[in-house]
């Protein structure tokens, strides 16, 4: 073993990446009294991270009681909108519910603030937090991960937790998780637009501290597999597009043009009018669902959060941060067990799979396992928005011609949009089966 013959370690656990997954795992392990190092390549926690939208944060109650009262959150999401956006029309399902106001399950966050606060909670709990450290490699002793290397520095531990994000260079450089299939990846491109609090509340029909989240499909990606998102922060709006990288690569579209197309769409631009751009960013999103949940353990190693491919796009909700937190909790539980038994073998670490499958993370990944394939259907992005637009137009455009029965009009509209009733029923059936 490299320079480490006495089996002495610098820390019992080393966690790479101070995002939500890494911080949650660190907090849980520090609470158990273990010595934990949390390394982060950014100058501060969160400085490399972008929120993908809504944090379904109920899981955090298990980590930090009264999380929503204590943590730096932006707004409680009480209004959800699914929007089919076409070139010259849109059809929205805008859902508000007093029950959502009373049960805080979803919040908007800025990761620079939230992650920095989480890292502070870790330090307060006794974690050694080292920001501004890019970890280059895992140190191996045969098949067992025994520590990390950053520059010339080597640090040894019984267990390493890789929480280094969707591109996990740690796992990639070690050959543990190889180059990801393009079909499992998407890129999110986002602008944060500053606007006064009351302007946001007026435009989105919100009470103070309440927020809205939009999932948009159709014209925002010019028909490519992906979608648009809008969500409200305290005094800014986060808006952008997420597009599958395989679809983007095969198309002739430019990534930044798709972002611009969405922000300047006549149905969207008025929401942002008069605002000031605060930040422009982009981030990779794991979109492969259950197909990406492989090679999450080695002797002495557990992979969590985005690095493990833990994200879920269900078409209406896009989840990642809650799964990151869940996987951090699961990893901490397994690491506690392996540390108390002093068994860091592959078989011992594999308890992590069982743990994941027993909690909502694994269960939901399984429930939505068919979703990525369903979302590959190009009709979702090209045909159904215009179809809905035409149906609504037919209903509201009373142009003095006598009205026809909805059924016969509907079939005509379906045909005009190059669809068949059979396809429609088939897609609905597949969709319902995937949900």
């Amino acid at each position: 073993m490299e320079n480490n013959v006495n089996n002495e370690v610098d820390f019992e656990v080393i966690i790479v990446g101070a995002g939500i997954a890494g911080c949650v795992a660190a907090l849980k392990l520090a609470d158990k009294g273990y010595s934990v190092l949390l390394a982060e390549r950014g100058q501060s926690a969160g400085s490399k991270n972008l929120s993908g939208g809504v944090f379904y944060c109920r899981v955090m109650e298990d980590v930090i009681p009264d999380f929503v009262k204590k943590a730096p959150i932006e707004r409680y999401i009480t209004r959800n909108c699914i929007s089919f956006l076409n070139e010259s029309s849109f059809v929205n399902i805008n859902y508000g519910d007093a029950r959502l106001e009373n049960s805080v399950t979803a919040v908007s966050v800025k990761r620079a603030k939230l992650d920095e606060w989480l890292a502070q909670q870790c330090e307060d709990a006794g974690v050694t937090f080292m920001p501004g450290i890019r970890v280059d490699e895992l140190l191996m002793d045969g098949d067992k991960v025994v520590g990390i290397q950053a520059g010339d520095d080597k640090l040894y531990s019984h267990v390493v937790i890789a929480a280094d994000g969707v591109n996990s260079m740690l796992c990639r450089n070690a050959g543990i998780r190889t180059r990801e299939l393009l079909e499992n990846l998407a890129v999110g491109i986002k602008s944060v637009i500053g606007l006064p609090k009351d302007t946001i509340e007026e435009r989105f029909h919100l009470k103070e501290n309440e927020g809205a989240a939009y999932a948009v499909v159709g014209d925002c990606t010019n028909g490519l597999n992906g979608g648009g998102f809008i969500y409200t922060n305290s005094d800014s709006i986060s808006i952008g597009v997420v597009v599958k990288i395989d679809a983007l690569a095969e198309s002739s579209e430019s990534a930044s043009d798709l972002h611009d197309r969405f922000l300047s769409h006549p149905a969207i631009e008025p929401l942002l009018r008069g605002g000031e751009l605060l930040e422009y960013g982009c981030h990779m999103v794991p979109e492969g669902g259950q197909a990406m949940l492989h090679d999450l353990t080695r002797a002495g190693l557990i992979v969590i959060g985005d690095a493990a491919g833990l994200a879920l796009n269900t078409g209406s909700t896009v989840r990642g941060m809650d799964l990151a937190a869940g996987s951090g909790i699961a990893a901490a539980k397994v690491v506690d067990e392996v540390l108390s038994k002093k068994d860091f073998s592959q078989a011992a670490m594999d308890a992590y799979y069982t743990e994941l499958n027993n909690i909502v993370v694994g269960k939901d990944m399984k429930t939505y396992a068919k979703m990525p394939v369903f979302l590959e259907n190009p009709r979702m992005y090209k045909n159904y928005g215009p179809l809905l637009g035409d149906i609504m137009y037919n209903i509201y455009n009373l142009d003095t011609t006598p009205r026809q029965h909805m059924m016969s009009e509907g079939l005509k509209i379906i045909k005009k949009n190059q669809l068949s009733a059979f396809q429609l029923i088939k897609d609905m059936y597949t969709g319902v089966r995937a949900l």
Partner: protein, 98 residues
């Protein structure tokens, strides 16, 4: 293309904060492999930060200081074209509002 009311990519990146590593680029291009696979047009199109551009001789110019570190180029580029690591410790983009 519709004009973004918040400026073009260069103007938008001006709002972002970076700690630029003036000694070392975290992105390296194998120009020969890139030319063979005609990767330049793909890289120009898919990078949201417009890091990549084409030189008059057809080779790829990398403005690594503008990189937002998403990894899209690394994922989509043909094998062997890019050598890409995150910027060195503490360097690169510093998000504050996202």
């Amino acid at each position: 293309m519709n004009k973004n009311p918040f400026g073009d990519v260069t103007e938008r990146l001006d709002k972002d904060r970076y700690e630029t590593d003036i000694e070392e680029s975290h992105i390296k291009v194998n120009q020969e492999a890139a030319a063979k696979s005609n990767a330049v047009d793909l890289l120009i199109r898919i990078c949201p930060a417009h890091v990549y551009s084409k030189q008059p001789d057809g080779s790829i110019n990398v403005m690594y200081a503008a990189c937002l570190e998403c990894g899209t180029c690394l994922a989509a580029a043909p094998v062997g074209v890019l050598s890409w690591q995150y910027p060195r410790s503490g360097m690169g983009i510093i998000f504050r509002e996202s």
